[in-house]
């Protein structure tokens, strides 16, 4: 049973987007370079975009981790970056989800606070536009009229705001990889990456 795109987008918004920064943190902690992380996440979303139906997936976070791991391993193997010599090397690439994520009740509150935080941290006038559009639901034409600018300007500013939001979704937690896991980072560098 094919679902329509709106359903898929809604599911991704609720079940995948909130966990993106956790997956990125995990990839970072095993030593995957930043630009590879961006590529892997895009591969993951691409996989998800091809799904016929998501109605039966109850654990979106688990699925995101699985898909990201799959994309990561595909790159490791294809580019022969790392020879997985020992199980300990493998463990680092397991991409285990150590934190099961917030409980259902907390998740909704966390998401709501996060949305407000993201919008509040946008620079003017993006912030006002997003408050009107996303929180109040004001259509673009009306926003342009209220602000006294063209719709084209509103659209450009909206796109800029969205780019900043996307960065926020990726999260900014850039703790360094642990010493043991920097082995992988060094191997990647030896082969010419970063």
């Amino acid at each position: 049973m094919r679902q329509d795109r709106a359903e898929l987008v809604a599911w991704v918004a609720g079940n995948v987007v909130p966990h993106e920064s956790a997956v990125r943190d995990k990839l970072r902690s095993v030593g995957v370079p930043e630009y590879e992380i961006d590529d892997i996440m895009q591969d993951a979303y691409l996989r998800i975009s091809h799904l016929d139906s998501v109605a039966h997936i109850r654990n979106g976070r688990g699925y995101l981790f699985t898909v990201a791991r799959s994309a990561m391993l595909l790159r490791v193997r294809r580019e022969r970056i790392v020879r997985i010599d020992s199980l300990s090397d493998y463990d680092e690439l397991t991409l285990a989800d150590d934190d099961p994520g917030p409980e259902r009740h907390a998740a909704a509150r966390i998401d709501l606070e996060r949305v407000h935080r993201m919008i509040a941290s946008l620079p003017s006038p993006c912030r006002e536009i997003f408050e009107m559009r996303r929180i109040e639901g004001v259509p673009q034409r009306e926003i342009a009229a209220r602000m006294g600018v063209s719709e084209h300007i509103v659209e450009k500013l909206s796109a800029r705001g969205l780019r900043l939001i996307l960065k926020a979704i990726a999260g900014g937690n850039r703790e360094a990889a642990s010493p043991a896991k920097q082995r992988i980072e060094r191997k990647l560098r030896d082969v010419g990456f970063e």
Partner: protein
């Protein structure tokens, strides 16, 4: 064409498409952009979902947090798959769907129902290869003419391979082991990827990532541990001497594993296997079966990649490769040596 530029352009398109239908030239420009890099579809989904995520702020704010988030299509279904049955029941009774004492009865009934493991059945037709996510976030790639039954509950993730072959990418969940049963053989994993195939006489297990443990019901010995890059065949207990060595564990290189699992991409990858072997494999995928008329021809080694669902092309290739003759009919394909 970096991922960063994909994200940036996807943001532009997401905003523009949201504001109303695109004009003809815009639509064409959009389709051209999408076609330029396959990952752009992923970037676009991300951008669209980011906007929807922001919109959830509106939907969630309307709820007031006292109720379970179960109102509109936009609100996510991030519940665990076995149901906090009790909590759902409370929500329902608070809403007084059925008034008074009946609410409590209905609530308990529903809670009981939700606590049962959810069962999912996945079946593939002849020649069909299906890749599908499971409720827990794992992904099953199910090969031709196969059947699997998935039952997940609070403490276990059980999959039964009733027939055929599947490759599992197991979502990491330390609290619940992922166990595949194929006949009387069980395979247990935590967060890993492995394939299982039921054949005449036993079960073939191939581990692509991580480690699994496998055991047969009747065995009193400790389970066998099969690690990445390894393959094990566990023979059926039926009609066999129970004292037979339980597994034959063979260590393989990554490239052999990729070839063995090439079916995931719809390929049959051969590196010197016999024509007989190739034909037997291909016949798993196609209604029109291939028969090799000549025993010696059947033993010829073949190297190459073939599409599993193109038996005619395979027969043509083989015919020219071995200077043989292929006859095609509605019922099937027959390969003989020339001059017969």
């Amino acid at each position: 064409m970096t991922s960063a530029s994909n994200d940036s352009e996807a943001a532009d398109w997401a905003i523009r498409r949201e504001n109303g239908p695109l004009s003809e030239p815009e639509q064409r420009a959009f389709e051209t952009w999408l076609a330029g890099d396959e990952r752009r579809a992923g970037a676009l989904l991300r951008a669209d979902a980011a906007l929807a995520f922001l919109d959830r702020g509106r939907a969630l704010a309307g709820l007031g947090f006292n109720d379970a988030p179960h109102v509109s299509g936009h609100v996510p279904d991030s519940e665990p798959e076995f149901g906090d049955g009790i909590e759902r029941a409370h929500w329902l009774s608070r809403r007084k769907l059925v008034g008074g004492g009946m609410a409590a009865l209905v609530a308990v009934g529903i809670a009981g129902f939700l606590a049962l493991p959810r069962t999912e059945r996945i079946v593939t037709q002849l020649g069909e290869i299906k890749r599908t996510p499971l409720a827990d976030g794992s992904v099953a790639t199910v090969n031709t003419a196969s059947r699997i039954t998935v039952a997940m509950s609070k403490n276990m993730r059980n999959v039964s391979l009733d027939d055929g072959e599947a490759w599992f990418e197991v979502a990491h969940d330390r609290t619940r082991p992922f166990v595949v049963r194929a006949g009387d053989v069980s395979i247990r994993a935590v967060g890993t990827a492995f394939s299982v195939r039921r054949t005449d006489g036993g079960v073939d297990i191939l581990v692509t990532e991580g480690v699994v443990e496998a055991w047969r019901d009747d065995q009193s010995t400790t389970p066998s541990r099969i690690a990445q890059g390894e393959r094990a065949f566990v023979a059926d207990a039926k009609g066999r001497d129970v004292n037979i060595a339980q597994n034959a564990v063979v260590v393989r290189t990554d490239s052999e594993i990729d070839r063995t699992l090439a079916w995931r991409n719809g390929d049959l990858a051969l590196n010197g296997e016999t024509l007989d072997y190739a034909v037997e494999e291909l016949n798993r995928y196609n209604r029109r079966k291939i028969i090799v008329g000549d025993r010696e021809l059947g033993r010829s080694p073949i190297v190459g990649y073939f599409k599993v669902n193109e038996p005619d092309n395979f027969a043509h290739s083989v015919a020219s490769l071995f200077n043989a003759r292929a006859q095609f009919s509605q019922e099937g394909i027959r390969i003989d040596t020339n001059g017969k």
